[in-house]
Each structure stands twice: as structure tokens, then as C-alpha cells.
């Protein structure tokens, strides 16, 4: 007898692609072998703005092994119109077109691609390309850019403007307790471990197979088709494994454009890999300034919210984020006003990075809430509970579910919050000041139309497929579990295909919608297979399932059996054999609107979290250690507690990083990010990360998405940095309002009483 392990939705199975990852067999974009491959190395421009006057490539061309040097002087034709260069998530504006002409829009802009028979020869030759420039005045100082702050007439389609209520100005003026603070977030770069890379396989007939580092293979395919005037059917984009992205792979990056351009020109296969330095020459989390003014009664009842923010964009595209809405949605407060605009700097266009908008806006709002709680003399957790709202205060709609109260309670319990003393600097231990902070996180629970196919073979082997991506988020595993759940097959009999533009249509992997969306699509497809199986089973001679409805049967252990009498059933392989079926193949599409999702407009859909953080601050050295984190998350149904926990851990680590480490530093004279490497752009190492506890609060929500799943990719980072900053205040008595909170900002006067 073997006991059947439940592998369906809700079980903590190991990541199904784990074996490939721990054995080195998982191949990423730059790792697909191609005979006769050429290597392209990108030459980056040296000025932030102006024009290329001369570009000297004869020395590079003279190096044996160099095949071509591509630049604006000799590039093949690409589409003229901006709209042909727009990818499906591009913000309004005029997209950057590499090597298009002599114009320089940002420092590090690619100005040439050296293509050679070996990587080393290409790299050496690239160092011999010389350019001279005509330099134009530029500005990369975001504070100066405030003078050019504006609201574009054409907004990004994902943008949600704040909706004001009451009279925030009057309420703020009248409030007996108030805080007013300005916050600043440094530019951050995603820096996934895998650098952006593309291997373009020239298939001989003019068609291309492109292995690309992307979060959306169909987005890249359609983009390339537009840029190069190709039919989408002649381009197949593959991303079976993606070495992290966090948003940097939402839009096609310039290496794929350059690699395809070179492959088409030379009619050969080409690989282009960015250097780590070049990873600082495209999208980044926008720099941000936020001003938060909050008012309350003496008893801590919030009466006024004024929330205003600016984020950076480039001169050629208008990237926008939802920065100011979060606090306005989350808190019970009769008067609230939000205001948001963008300001251009001469860099590449900013782009979505993990929890875009919320990671910035909710963090600063939650830092301000902490200030207000202290101004009112109330415990910051109690303060949040006092102003708790069951409904979405900004939109005036109920939530499909909001178990934030439970998250606060379970998080506080696990953390031991009740043992906290309110006064700053009151919990010293040895040389270290101890601080405990709390904050709230919030993100959207989104759903995006997605298709999936399912194909059951006579031997009981199932393949499910969708053009979704797995950027470390666990999509392979989610799809496997959704299929296992519906058809009751063991994991070994289920194969998942994704990361291939030729598969059924799926959106880009982002916004935390993938699990809910592709999970629902797989479930639909498998359900359709199940229906076909049942009807075939019912037709078998002396079938125990004759006349049974879908509701009356259970698919489990490779069998279909009556729910009421599990002994009566048939094996799936038996059904296939008896009905003479070789294969059952279906494709289904899950779109918003199915199963209880009609309320999309009438209800708000959000994930929530409560984050508790302990820091220890060395008073003399200003060194901060985040020694304990408890993140309690209310995110509906959890498909796989193991991989779900990892997503939250990753978000928390990036939140700690946002609070303490990450900062792309610009030398404004050159308009360039100077710390463009892993040694100087700090991300946490293992020694920086201590205990992190993740709690998933029970939150049944059949309404939010078909599977009741809300998604987890972003929520882990939102609010985490605020909890760290608030804990640092509790430890030191010092409010640092510019992230990251580096040692210099703390030693400044921590020692002085």
C-alpha cells in the first residue's frame, strides 16, 4: 500500500524545478549552446547627454576574430515610428532605440556592438572603439529636477490617481496632534544575479529563436516583430529559466535588440550579455521625494492625511507609479488628499521594481504613521488598530477580504510585541541599542487574462503549458499543483512547459498576478480534461461511474472514483484504453469575469501584511543589525507554503536592503551612477540577514480570484523598510527620513545626547 501524498493546492512540495537548479542543468539565457555562435560585446557611451561626433572603430575591426562593429553609422534598418518600438508595458513617450542615431540620452547608453568569434576577442576589441562627443547640458540631480515637476497629459495605463475626500487642509490645520515630514528614497537598481543576456539562434530561413532574460516572452516577441518588421510567427522567444528580474525583465532590454540586429545583419547566431556595470544603464526604481502630513485628535483618531510625492523619470518617457494612494486606502480618516507628479532627469527611464509605488509610498507613509503615533503618545501598533478600516477608504468599496487585523495580532504575538517599552532608547543591551518597530504592507491582488493548455496521454502522463515565466517565483510548481489538484495525478506524471512565446497566451510575470492567473488557467484546462475523461468513463461497460456528475466524483491517485464510495472507480489509464483515446488535448482561457469575479469594480482586492522588526544599533559605530523580523501576511489562499514563504523571505531581505543598503549614487558632473558594481552597490549578504519568520494568516477569499489566490511576489517588501526605520527610531531616538539609513546618517549625532 502506498499512502498517496497530497500534492495539490496547499501542500508544501519541493519546487519541481529544483533538481535542475541544484545540478546546474537549468540553462539561463546565455547558456544555450549553438554551433558557430558569435559573441557581441556592448560599448557604452561616456556622456549623459549630447551627440556622438566621431566613432572610430578601425582599430577594433583590425583585431583578428572581429566580424563586425555595429553602430548608428552602419546599423541595418529598424522601424521609424515610436509606436513600433513600444513594448506592451512601455510607459507613454518615445522609447529608447539603441544605435538609432547620434543622440545620447543617458550615460552608459550603448553606442556600438562589437561582434567577434570569441567573447574575449569581442571584449578586447570593444575597448578599442573610440568616440568623441558634443556634450549638452544635463541634469541628473533629482532635487534640482523638482523645478520641472509635471503631470503628463497621457498617463500610464496602470496609474490610479488618488481620490481625495473631506477637507484635508482644514483638518490638518485644526488637528491638535500633527506631524509633517519629507522623505527621500535613493535610486535603486534591480540587480538580479543573472545579467541581462540574449542568445539569438539564426535558424537559416530567416526565423529566429531567441533565448532571452525576460519576464514576458510574448512581450519580447511582439516587440522584436515591431522593431524589425518581422512576422511574429518567425520569432520564438524562450525563457525557461530566468535568474531573477524583480521588474528589470518586464520591458525588453537593449541587449536583445542588439543581438537580434546583429544576427539578422550577419545571418548568424549571436549572443550578447551585459556586464554588471551595464546593468546600471537601464531600468531602475525611481528616486522619490514624498511629503506626508498627518493630523490626529489627542486620543489618536486620525483626522487628516496629506500625501504628496514625486518620482523620477527620463526625458524621453513618462514612467509613473501609484505612490500616494496606499495610506489613503488603508486608514480610517475622514479627510485625505493625495497629489503626485513626476520629474525628468537625464538617465534611462525608471521602471517597475518589486512592488513599484507601494514599496516607496507605503514605506514612507508607514514611517509617518509611526511619527504620528509617537506624537500622540500611543503604542504604534495600538495606533494602527485604532485607525483600522474594514473598507477601502479611498475608493469607498469593501475589500473581498482583509485579514490585516489578524495579521497584526498573530505577528505581534509571535514577535512578543507586548513586552516592548514605548520610549526610544529604552531597551539597551550591552553596547547595542535595541529597537522594535512595526509597519503595515499593502499590495494589489490582481488577475490577468491567461491561457493554458493541457494534454493527457494514454499512459496517464499530463503536460500543461502556458507562455508564463518563472523568475524564481515558483510558476512551474504552481502550475504543477493546480494540475495535480484538479486531476489527482502524482507530480512525477505532470510536466510543465512555460517560458516559450509559442505556448498559449500569458501576460508578463509581474504585479504578483501570475500564480492566481496561470493557476486558474491550468485548473480550467485540467477541468476540461476531467470532464472528457468522466464522459468517456461513464460510457465504459458496466461503468461504476455511469450517470455520475463531476460533483459526484473525485480525481485522486490516478483514478476517478465516486466521492461517496471511493472503492467504485476506474483508473485514468484504463479510461483512455477503453475509449481508444491516445490523447486528450485542450486549451482554456481564464479571464476576469469568471467564477465570482464580476465584483471587480465593486470591491477592492488587496493583500495586507504586518511587519515587526528588531534592530540592534551599535551606538558608537552606527552599525545596524536587523536581528529579528516577523512578517504576517494576509494573502488569501496559499498554493504552496514552502515556495510562498520563500517569496516573502526574498521580499523581506529586499526590504531590509532598501532600508539599510541600496543606493545608486550619481556623480552629477558626469551624470553617471558611479557605484555600478556589486562591491559598491550594497545588497545584503548572508551575514546581514538573521531570523525571519513568515506567517500566513488564514484568509479564505473565494471572490478575489478563481482559486482564491492573491499573489505574493511584492507584498514581502512593502512596509518592511518602514518597520526597520521605525525600529531604528525606537532604538536611537533618531528619525532618519532618507533611505537607505546608512551609518553616516546615524553616527551624525547618535552619540550626542
Amino acid at each position: 500500500m502506498n499512502v498517496l501524498q497530497n500534492v495539490g493546492i496547499g501542500s508544501a512540495i519541493n519546487r519541481v524545478d529544483g533538481l535542475q537548479k541544484v545540478t546546474g542543468r537549468a540553462r539561463y539565457a546565455a547558456e544555450h549552446p549553438v554551433p558557430g555562435l558569435l559573441h557581441g560585446v556592448i560599448v557604452s557611451g561616456a556622456i549623459p547627454k549630447g551627440r556622438i561626433v566621431t566613432l572610430e572603430d578601425s582599430e577594433a575591426r583590425a583585431v583578428p576574430g572581429v566580424v563586425e562593429v555595429l553602430s548608428h553609422k552602419n546599423r541595418p534598418h529598424v522601424a521609424w515610428f515610436d509606436r513600433s518600438h513600444k513594448d506592451m508595458v512601455a510607459p507613454p513617450g518615445s522609447p529608447f532605440k539603441a544605435l538609432y542615431d547620434d543622440k545620447i540620452l543617458f550615460s552608459g547608453q550603448p553606442i556600438a556592438l562589437v561582434i567577434a568569434e570569441s567573447f574575449e576577442v569581442a571584449r578586447y576589441a570593444a575597448s578599442l572603439v573610440r568616440a568623441s562627443y558634443e556634450v549638452e547640458p544635463h541634469n541628473t540631480d533629482f532635487h534640482k529636477a523638482q523645478a520641472e515637476r509635471f503631470m503628463p497629459s497621457k498617463k500610464r495605463d496602470t496609474y490610479h490617481p488618488p481620490k481625495n475626500r473631506g477637507d484635508a487642509d482644514a483638518a490638518f490645520a485644526a488637528a491638535p496632534v500633527k506631524v509633517s515630514a519629507e522623505y527621500h528614497l535613493a535610486t535603486e537598481h534591480h540587480n538580479p544575479m543573472e545579467m541581462h543576456a540574449s542568445t539569438v539562434v539564426w535558424e537559416g530561413d530567416g526565423s529566429l529563436t531567441v533565448f532571452d532574460k525576460t519576464q514576458g516572452p510574448q512581450n519580447v516577441r511582439d516587440y522584436l516583430a515591431g522593431v524589425f518588421g518581422m512576422s511574429a510567427s518567425t520569432i520564438r522567444v524562450m525563457n525557461p529559466f530566468v535568474g531573477g528580474a524583480f521588474g528589470s525583465g518586464l520591458r525588453p532590454q537593449y541587449q536583445v535588440y542588439l543581438a537580434v540586429m546583429a544576427a539578422r545583419m550577419l545571418q548568424r547566431s549571436v549572443r550578447v550579455v551585459m556586464t554588471r556595470q551595464q546593468m546600471f544603464t537601464h531600468g531602475h526604481r525611481p528616486e522619490a521625494l514624498q511629503s506626508v502630513q498627518l493630523g490626529a485628535e489627542r486620543d489618536g483618531t486620525m483626522t487628516a492625511i496629506r500625501n504628496s510625492a514625486t518620482t523620477s523619470t527620463s526625458r524621453y518617457e513618462n514612467n509613473m507609479e501609484d505612490v500616494v494612494i496606499w495610506g489613503m486606502m488603508n486608514y480610517a480618516c475622514e479627510n485625505a488628499a493625495g497629489e503626485y507628479a513626476i520629474a525628468p532627469v537625464d538617465t534611462a527611464t525608471s521602471t517597475d521594481m518589486r512592488a513599484p509605488g507601494a514599496a516607496t509610498g507605503m514605506t514612507f507613509f508607514e514611517m509617518a504613521v509611526d511619527e504620528l503615533a509617537y506624537a500622540a503618545g500611543i503604542d504604534p501598533l495600538e495606533f494602527r488598530l485604532k485607525n483600522y478600516s474594514e473598507t477601502d477608504q479611498m475608493n469607498g468599496t469593501p475589500f473581498t477580504s482583509k485579514a490585516l487585523r489578524e495579521a497584526y495580532a498573530e505577528g505581534a504575538e509571535a514577535f512578543g510585541w507586548s513586552r516592548r517599552s514605548q520610549a526610544p532608547r529604552s531597551m539597551k543591551e550591552g553596547r547595542e541599542l535595541v529597537g522594535w518597530g512595526v509597519a503595515t504592507g499593502m499590495w494589489d491582488a490582481m488577475f490577468s487574462k491567461t491561457s493554458a493548455s493541457a494534454r493527457l496521454s494514454a499512459n496517464g502522463h499530463l503536460e500543461v503549458a502556458s507562455a508564463a515565466s518563472d523568475i524564481g517565483t515558483g510558476t512551474y510548481t504552481v502550475m504543477t499543483q493546480a494540475a495535480a489538484d484538479t486531476l489527482g495525478l502524482p507530480v512525477e506524471q505532470i510536466a510543465v512547459r512555460l517560458g516559450d512565446s509559442s505556448l498559449p497566451k500569458a501576460p508578463v510575470e509581474g504585479g504578483s498576478w501570475m500564480a492566481a492567473s496561470v493557476g486558474a488557467a491550468v485548473q480550467l484546462a485540467c477541468r476540461s480534461v476531467a470532464e472528457k475523461l468522466l464522459s468517456a468513463a461513464a460510457k465504459m461497460q458496466n461503468s461504476p461511474l455511469a450517470g455520475a456528475s463531476m460533483e459526484a466524483v473525485r480525481f485522486s491517485g490516478g483514478r476517478i472514483a465516486l466521492r461517496d464510495d471511493p472503492a467504485r472507480g476506474v483508473a485514468i489509464t484504463e479510461v483512455m484504453r477503453a475509449s481508444g483515446t491516445d490523447v486528450i488535448a485542450v486549451e482554456e482561457t481564464a479571464s476576469a469575469g469568471i467564477s465570482g469575479m464580476i465584483s471587480q469594480m465593486r470591491k477592492s482586492r488587496n493583500t495586507h501584511s504586518a511587519i515587526f522588526v528588531e534592530v540592534r544599533v551599535d551606538e558608537e559605530l552606527g552599525v545596524v543589525r536587523v536581528t529579528r523580523v516577523v512578517n504576517a501576511v494576509a494573502a488569501g489562499r496559499i498554493i504552496n507554503p514552502k515556495t510562498a514563504r520563500s517569496q516573502i523571505l526574498g521580499g523581506v531581505v529586499m526590504g531590509i536592503s532598501m532600508a539599510l543598503h541600496e543606493e545608486s549614487m550619481t556623480d552629477h558632473r558626469y551624470g553617471r551612477f558611479m557605484n555600478h558594481n556589486y562591491a559598491e552597490y550594497h545588497v545584503p549578504v548572508n551575514a546581514d540577514i538573521h531570523d525571519i519568520q513568515v506567517i500566513f494568516v488564514d484568509e479564505p477569499d473565494p471572490e478575489v480570484t478563481p482559486l482564491g489566490v492573491k499573489g505574493l511576489g511584492e507584498i514581502g517588501i512593502v512596509g518592511t523598510a518602514a518597520a526597520v526605520a521605525n525600529a531604528i527610531f525606537h532604538a536611537t531616538g533618531k528619525r532618519v527620513r532618507a533611505l537607505p539609513i546608512t551609518i553616516d546618517k546615524l553616527v551624525d549625532d547618535t552619540v550626542a545626547p
Binding site: G24, M193, I471, S646, V683
Partner: protein, 173 residues
């Protein structure tokens, strides 16, 4: 610039012998080729990853004569006669190295890109026999970045293997 000789004339490829994952390989390599690029581009051993090419991330960690090293910082020609173990060489047939199994069981990765380097680094750490506590593992695994933030799970995985080998020191210090 006329005094710069064409590179292919100035330096010919040099013969070296490496034992890679137990197989002896006689190779002809230009002196500017790193061990990492040799493995990835010429030996089709792409398990070793490139995350920076500057010795800053640890994604390229392999074992050279049993010691962990950043292969992006090693010129292949300087390793003539050495024995290299990459992630592809850790398992014996279908039998995974205990670290590989522990990484899977503890979900010690997400995207998996840093994983081969983490595992090789952990293998080197075990060989060194120095780390005996969680804090020591955290410290001595800090040359391997994980942008997905799997650190706590990585420590859990390494600790499990340390424990099974009896290399653990009781927490009380």
C-alpha cells in the same frame, strides 16, 4: 597605436591539462581566458554562473583541488594540472550530494542562479571544516550573494548537512 601588436600574434594559445569533474581534459587556451569562461563557453559546463565577472558575487564559485574559488578571477592557464569540480560534478550519477538534496528540501533558492555557486561554496566550507555554528556559516557563506534573498534557507540547508556529519557545535557559547 602602431606599437600594439595584434593579440593573436603576441600570444599563442597554450596547452594545459585540467581534470574537470574527474575527466582529464587536454586543452589549448589563450592566456586571457578565465576558468569561468572556459567552463561556460568552451566546455559547455554552464552550471557555473557569471554574476559580475569581478570576484564580487560568488556565482562562479567552483572547487579547485577541493578549495572554493571564484572562477572568474582565475586565468585558466594558471591552473595547469589542477583538478576542478563544478556543480555538474557534485552528484555521483543519480546520487545527489547531500548539499544538493538539502538545498531542495529547504527551498534554499528561488531563481536558482546563485545556487551552483552557493552549493560549491558550501562544499568548500565543509572541506575547510571551520564553520560549526549558524553564525559561522552565515559569515563564511557571505562571499555568495543571493539577490532572491534565500539566505536563511541556505543556512538551514548547510546546517542540516553539517549536523548530519557531526560537525556541529552546540549553540551555547
Amino acid at each position: 597605436m602602431s606599437d600594439v601588436a595584434p593579440i593573436s600574434i603576441a600570444f599563442a594559445a597554450m596547452p594545459i591539462t585540467l581534470t574537470i569533474n574527474g575527466h582529464e581534459r587536454r586543452l589549448s587556451v589563450e592566456p586571457w581566458v578565465t576558468l569561468l569562461d572556459l567552463l561556460r563557453e568552451r566546455e559547455d559546463l554552464t552550471g557555473s554562473k557569471k554574476g559580475c565577472d569581478h570576484g564580487q558575487c560568488g556565482a562562479c564559485t567552483v572547487l579547485v583541488d577541493g578549495r572554493r574559488m571564484n572562477s572568474c578571477l582565475k586565468l585558466a592557464v594558471s591552473l595547469d594540472g589542477a583538478s576542478i569540480t563544478t556543480i555538474e560534478g557534485l552528484a555521483e550519477g543519480d546520487r545527489l550530494d547531500p548539499l544538493q538534496q538539502a538545498f531542495m528540501d529547504h527551498d534554499a533558492f528561488q531563481c536558482g542562479y546563485c545556487t551552483p555557486g552557493q552549493i560549491c561554496s558550501a562544499k568548500g566550507l565543509l572541506n575547510e571544516g571551520r564553520a560549526r555554528t549558524r553564525d559561522e556559516v552565515r559569515e563564511m557563506m557571505s562571499g555568495n550573494l543571493c539577490r532572491c534573498g534565500a539566505y536563511t534557507n541556505i543556512v538551514d540547508a548547510v546546517m542540516q548537512v553539517l549536523e548530519s556529519r557531526g560537525q556541529i557545535k552546540e549553540a551555547a557559547e
